[in-house]
């Protein structure tokens, strides 16, 4: 009888509508409509000023053959892979911080401070770190006796990876925070029980804690990959996608086309393709990480 009541209450259509409507309305109006519009602008030859001309799928066809676009897509994918891999490090840090070691609370606060800084500050910091002649990194390298340290942001073979580091670092706090909250949500009793059974801290972490926050971990995989595929900020400020496109990503390429080259139609088409690519990747990840039985307490 209890379950019947439960089912009835929990499938009340009116309540479901009331609870989801605000979110859906906002997203439909302010995100979905602009998305559709950008797909539509992608069908136009339009410099953003004056009349537009319908040219069908031409922009999309050109984009598919545009080597610059595919290069920028490759860079975005590389960033996504590195970001996803770095989640493992963040998870490890969060596990340490959430365990009962002395000073964990204090350390956690310090660890998260960089995420509070705006991109402007972070970009300036890393530009100073990477400066070829006065920068911190090269001062250290030269101090260690390396005569010709690389010009990190000028060398087309290095720049992409050099700029990944601040991007990944910038988001460290974000993921550590999420993992930390999830870990703290694990009932103390489970951990205590395992301790009594003689499990080591490492075993507790890997066999109990990690499986319990798997759902959260899956969400962060999606967040990091989606976030990377549309990433823009530091790239734009630190290198502008240069030199000669060596650090261009999809979003910065789109911005350049729409805002600097006045090719708004083509820029919109690239923006729309970015969305499609992200969508496909997300569906694949969701499929790959889907588990048959959800973990329950």
């Amino acid at each position: 009888m209890g379950l019947n009541v439960m089912n009835k209450v929990m499938s009340n259509k009116w309540i479901i509508f009331l609870y989801t409507f605000p979110a859906l309305l906002l997203i439909a109006v302010l995100i979905v409509i602009p998305l559709i519009l950008s797909g539509y602008f992608g069908l136009m030859d339009w410099d953003g000023i004056g009349a537009m001309e319908f040219i069908g799928l031409e922009n999309y066809i050109v984009a598919l053959q545009d080597t610059k676009f595919w290069e920028s897509a490759l860079h975005s994918f590389l960033l996504a892979i590195f970001s996803a891999l770095s989640l493992l490090i963040y998870l490890a840090v969060a596990l340490i911080l959430a365990s009962k070691i002395k000073g964990a609370n204090f350390l956690r606060k310090i660890y998260l401070i960089p995420m509070l800084l705006s991109s402007v500050a972070i970009a300036q910091l890393w530009v100073k770190i990477y400066n070829p002649s006065n920068g911190m990194l090269n001062s250290i390298l030269m101090g260690l006796g390396i005569d010709n340290p690389p010009a990190w942001l000028a060398d087309p073979n290095i720049v992409l990876y050099a700029i990944f580091i601040p991007i990944i670092w910038q988001y460290a706090g974000f993921y550590i925070l999420i993992y930390y909250a999830a870990l703290k949500n694990i009932p103390e009793s489970l951990v205590e029980a395992a301790k009594i059974d003689g499990a080591t801290p490492l075993q507790i972490a890997l066999k109990i804690k990690v499986p319990l926050i798997m759902n959260v971990f899956k969400v962060t995989i999606v967040l990091s990959i989606v976030g990377s595929l549309k990433y823009f900020d530091l790239i734009y400020v630190m290198t502008g996608g240069g030199p000669n496109g060596a650090s261009e990503v999809m979003a910065s390429y789109m911005y350049k086309l729409a805002f600097a080259s006045y090719d708004f139609g083509y820029g919109s088409a690239i923006g729309f393709l970015l969305l499609i690519i992200t969508l496909i990747v997300t569906v694949i990840i969701r499929k790959l990480t889907a588990s048959k039985d959800e973990i329950q307490y």
Binding site: P22, L25, L26, V29, D47, G48, I49, G50, A51, V127, Y130, N131, P132, S133, N134, A151, W152, L153, A154, D155, P156, V159, T239, G240, G242, P243, N244, G245, K256, F259, A260, S261, Y262, D263, F264
Partner: protein, 438 residues
């Protein structure tokens, strides 16, 4: 406790829905000039004006503009100027967004030639021939703001590029201002031998490297302005002079003339190396003059040790009275402005007053003619103004001359050329392809 929470939740909810459901109530909010006046003949008018000289970074610019605005409002009763100030990048982005909705301010700032072309094509800018007196301007400046012989912008500034150098460093190694590229190469070699960075260059912004390339093309072309002719499609970009100019750039790079990692440095970082006496030379436009003359934030000792020389001859070619430069920003008036007459009057007034006060009060060289005799100026200003008076030709900055799309190709190619990623031939070919597409 519960009730309170639920109530606040409910209020938020209603608020969100209300806001989205049409915002019918916000009709009469104060949305600036748009609805202020539809009849330009009446007494009250609000002219919306956007510029890019914020108070914090450009105190003098900001102050002088405000004073001119106050004077204008005093002289024209009933006209109010509604001001919005943004920084350079944000200004460009915002104008771009505004133009898609045909919401440009009544008066705003524009760049010349390639930048303004789409706006003129889209009928966004009003013709200004009726308010401009071309004789007041330095030759070539209003032309840069004209398309098909109609002027759409009132130029406010004029810059020419020269090589600024540190006299103290030059004296230390017994160096003199070079007149030929060979002499410049020797200077570079001497400085390198002594562990001094020869030339500061921040090519992340690519227009800096572009100035080097442009000067080589300018000198190699002699009295023929090959670059301009190639851009206006009179000649091919694969012209021998333009290819050789690219070769010369690479020779300079190969001789370690520029600071290391220049392709990843912002112009600002390069400038600081020059001003921090970490590099001996720096090619920049005359907008930087205050740093070397009147800017009190820069140590007097450094300012006294800066000199400049014109770009040297290359292969014995080049007219020293030819420069690379151009007008920076100018004023446009929106074609769809509801207060077009007032806007035009204001733009003309601002340009005129600015011309009278720019050099003395702000330290920038206006596009209007300056009488050097009547004002007391730092000698370096007088020299630059004299250069301008003697100028036979000024090649307009390539990224300004070209359409926005081609400019992007140019800037990318400049980085590739300096980085040794393309050969001079490929460099010329990429330009030719981009330019011939239209």
């Amino acid at each position: 406790m519960f009730k309170k929470k639920a109530l606040s939740v409910f209020i938020m909810f209603v608020l969100a829905v209300l806001v989205l459901a049409g915002c019918a109530s916000s009709d009469d909010s104060d949305t600036s000039s748009g609805d202020s006046n539809s009849d330009s003949g009446s007494d009250e008018a609000t002219v919306k004006f956007m510029h890019l000289w914020p108070e914090g970074s450009s105190a003098q610019h900001h102050k002088v503009v405000n004073e001119i605005i106050a004077d204008f409002e005093a002289e024209n009763e009933g006209v109010t100027i509604d001001l919005e100030v943004l920084s350079n990048e944000q200004y460009k982005d915002k104008i771009k967004v505004l133009s898609t909705s045909n919401e440009l301010p009544d008066v705003g700032m524009t760049w010349a030639a390639g930048y303004m072309e789409p706006y003129v094509d889209g009928n966004m800018y009003a013709p200004l021939d009726d308010v401009i007196n071309k004789d007041d301007f330095v030759a070539g400046t209003t032309e840069a703001f004209a398309i098909d012989d109609t002027t759409y912008g009132l130029p406010l500034e004029l810059n020419i590029s020269s090589i600024y150098y540190n006299k103290a460093i030059f004296d230390e190694y017994g160096l003199e201002e070079p007149e030929t590229i060979e002499e410049l190469n020797e200077i570079v070699a001497t400085l390198n031998e002594n562990g001094v960075n020869p030339i500061a260059l921040g090519n992340k912004d690519a227009w800096t490297g572009s100035m080097w390339y442009m000067y080589f093309a300018n000198r190699l072309g002699g009295d023929q302005d090959v670059l301009t002719e190639a851009i206006s499609r009179e000649i091919s970009f694969e012209d021998p002079a333009l290819v050789q100019a690219a070769e010369e750039v690479q020779k300079l790079v190969d001789a370690d003339s520029f600071v290391s990692g220049f392709n990843g440095l912002a112009d600002e970082e390069a400038k600081s190396m020059f001003m921090g006496e970490q590099a001996a030379m720096y090619l920049i436009a005359s907008w930087d003059l205050p740093n070397y003359t009147t800017n009190e934030d820069v140590p007097q000792e450094f300012r006294d040790s800066v000199g400049y020389f014109p770009f040297p001859k290359v292969d014995g070619k080049g007219n020293m009275n030819n420069f690379v430069g151009g007008p920076g920003v100018g004023l446009f008036v929106a074609e769809d402005s509801d207060v077009k007459e007032e806007a035009k009057a204001f733009a003309a007034y601002l340009t005129e007053q600015w011309g009278e006060r720019a050099v003395t009060d702000v330290g920038i060289i206006p596009a209007t003619k300056v009488d050097t005799d009547s004002v007391d100026l730092h000698p370096m200003y007088t020299d630059v103004l004299n250069d301008l008076n003697a100028a036979e030709n000024i090649t307009l900055y390539a990224d300004v001359q070209m359409s926005a799309e081609d400019a992007q190709v140019h800037l990318d190619m400049i980085q590739a050329l300096f980085g040794g990623e393309v050969t001079p031939e490929e460099f010329a070919k990429a330009h030719e392809e981009a330019l011939s597409q239209e």
